[in-house]
Symmetry: C2
Subunit: 345 residues, 2 copies
């Protein structure tokens, strides 16, 4: 129960209005969840998959809205994000994604052909990800009160393992594996939006990752925690996990896979790839003795061919993420207050 006489838990003097950064995957969004949503709704994981038993089945349930601009970009579109994003959220609890709902909020004046293209692409993406879109809703808002098309999807998946895949299962000695090279999605969006041309077209990494995750579990890997790297990038994800698990995560920058063209684009744009958004990448915390086997399983899947061991969980300072940089110095990785780029997904 919450105290309905309570005043707004977000300090009004500091934040009287919602800012773009409140949706950015960084500190402000984190605060909004921790201080407003979680206490009000009586749960502590309001931005993860929820899991529950119904009959003899253990289910995972999650939702995401998609407001990306532009709607279409190199390597994907809002349609793939809306399917893969929710599929990947389910996969992060080790669930087999099965059913999706879709809610469209359309702006009056949206070209009908655009809607048709989005609908077709969503269905193709659903087939690729092995899920069925089983129920939906459409709302239309007046011109100037939306932005072409927003999509919400919710997903239901089946948990068929007995692991406790959760930040609180992370422990000292665990190794950290990232499932592929990072930063492509954010750079693809930014390049399209700002009309930047690099030597090569950098395509989003948008992809479903449920299959490689289920492969890990089926191979008997003791998976302690999984998290997809979306808004806020690898850095924000790891800080959240370090805080929730009360461990220190130590990264080796040399080991973090970043494609050369992405690294180059980041340097030109003054970005740190650790904070750039991804849409087909995840971090896995696993028992050290399983590291080699896990990498072999991941490398066998086309989406994870660049998977790498990039860090370890150490004792030292609970809640901290540190990085041994390319030149050998160690620094603390902090959460951004907002995001580098709004509306990335």
């Amino acid at each position: 129960m919450i105290d309905f006489s309570a005043t707004c838990p977000i300090p009004i003097s500091q934040y009287p209005h919602v800012l773009l950064a409140h949706g950015g995957g960084g500190k402000l969004m984190h605060n909004l969840i921790q201080k407003m949503f979680s206490p009000a709704f009586g749960n502590t994981n309001s931005h993860d998959s929820a899991t529950f038993h119904l009959g003899n089945a253990q289910l995972a349930f999650t939702t995401d809205s998609y407001v990306v601009q532009p709607l279409f970009f190199p390597g994907g579109s809002i349609a793939e994000l809306a399917v893969y994003g929710t599929v990947n959220d389910l996969a992060m609890s080790g669930a087999r994604p099965l059913f999706l709902s879709v809610g469209f909020i359309l702006e009056e004046g949206l070209p009908m052909e655009t809607l048709w293209q989005v609908v077709q692409t969503m269905q193709q993406a659903a087939e690729k990800a092995g899920v069925q879109i089983v129920t939906g809703d459409t709302k239309v808002v007046d011109r100037g009160k939306g932005d072409g098309i927003f999509i919400n999807t919710a997903g239901v998946g089946l948990i068929e393992h007995s692991l406790n895949i959760h930040p609180t299962s992370v422990r000292t000695g665990d190794v950290l594996v990232v499932s592929g090279d990072i930063g492509r999605h954010g750079i693809a969006i930014m390049a399209t939006r700002e009309g930047l041309a690099f030597e090569t077209t950098i395509e989003s990494d948008s992809a479903p990752v449920a299959e490689p995750v289920l492969n890990l579990i089926q191979a008997g890997i003791e998976v302690h925690c999984l998290r997809d790297l979306t808004r806020g990038g690898l850095a924000s994800t790891l800080i959240e996990i370090a805080e929730a698990s009360q461990t220190q995560i130590h990264l080796d920058e040399n080991a973090v896979p970043v494609r050369e063209d992405v690294q180059g684009a980041c340097e030109i744009l003054g970005l740190d790839p650790l904070y750039v958004a991804n849409e087909g990448r995840f971090a896995a915390f696993i028992q050290e003795s399983d590291a080699e086997k896990a990498l072999a399983v991941l490398h066998a899947h086309p989406v994870c061919e660049n998977a790498a061991l990039i860090g370890r969980v150490i004792e030292n300072t609970p809640g901290r993420v540190t990085l041994k940089s390319k030149i050998g110095a160690t620094r603390i990785i902090d959460m951004l207050s907002g995001e580098q780029l709004p509306r990335i997904c």
Copy 2:
């Protein structure tokens, strides 16, 4: 499988762009679902609850987005609609609603206090409806690209009966019961939006109806079909059911409960209450021999104290809805192409 070489199934020459009416619950929305969404996603019920088995549990799954303006109105707000609307969709398959997801799409600049009020009210509504909000997501869009706050909820419920509650179960001889007086929600929104003052303040009928529905089932009533009366009102709902069941539904206008103040407002505004939106009302098709018992069960619940038997399923013309008017004439009830009022929910 759909034919991805297919051209857009909505005739571009007629509808090159999405219109407000495509979200209005009438003919255009119906077309969009029938011609675009259902064939693409390979289901025929993309705007109803989907049902499926997982393990030994039979589940219902549904979604709705809420874009109502204004956010707060007499008798409710977007927060109650977002909870009750999805709860009621689940109830229409006879499911016990259990878990909700919530996706917020916030416009930059939304007062933080407004968000807090919505969050608190959603939690109160969830407690009233007996469901838990277990997972969520927040996106923020730039100022001028949204409209304060849009909410999507998806819901999971448990089906504990063996009835086949579906339009195709409706048969000749069934009676039609409406769960209460109609038209209050639409009139409440319209009066607020247009600044109209009637003698009394007409409050929305917004309410959760899962409890009375489950009471019907527990009482052993042979329920053939249930449908909540939202966009498009009673008339649009009945036309959809008449088409899906290939029966004729014959209404007695004198029996349809409409409060005097709502009837008066409709006359002033030139509206037919049959087409006005509701947010806490449903239609039930039941076996004739159960009629009296069903009305007694409904009348025992505060949300359904005005429930009434308003029509019958007859043979004559499949797919047609007819009405015996107050003056005794019989006329055909047709579907509106859009809705009387956009963004009612």
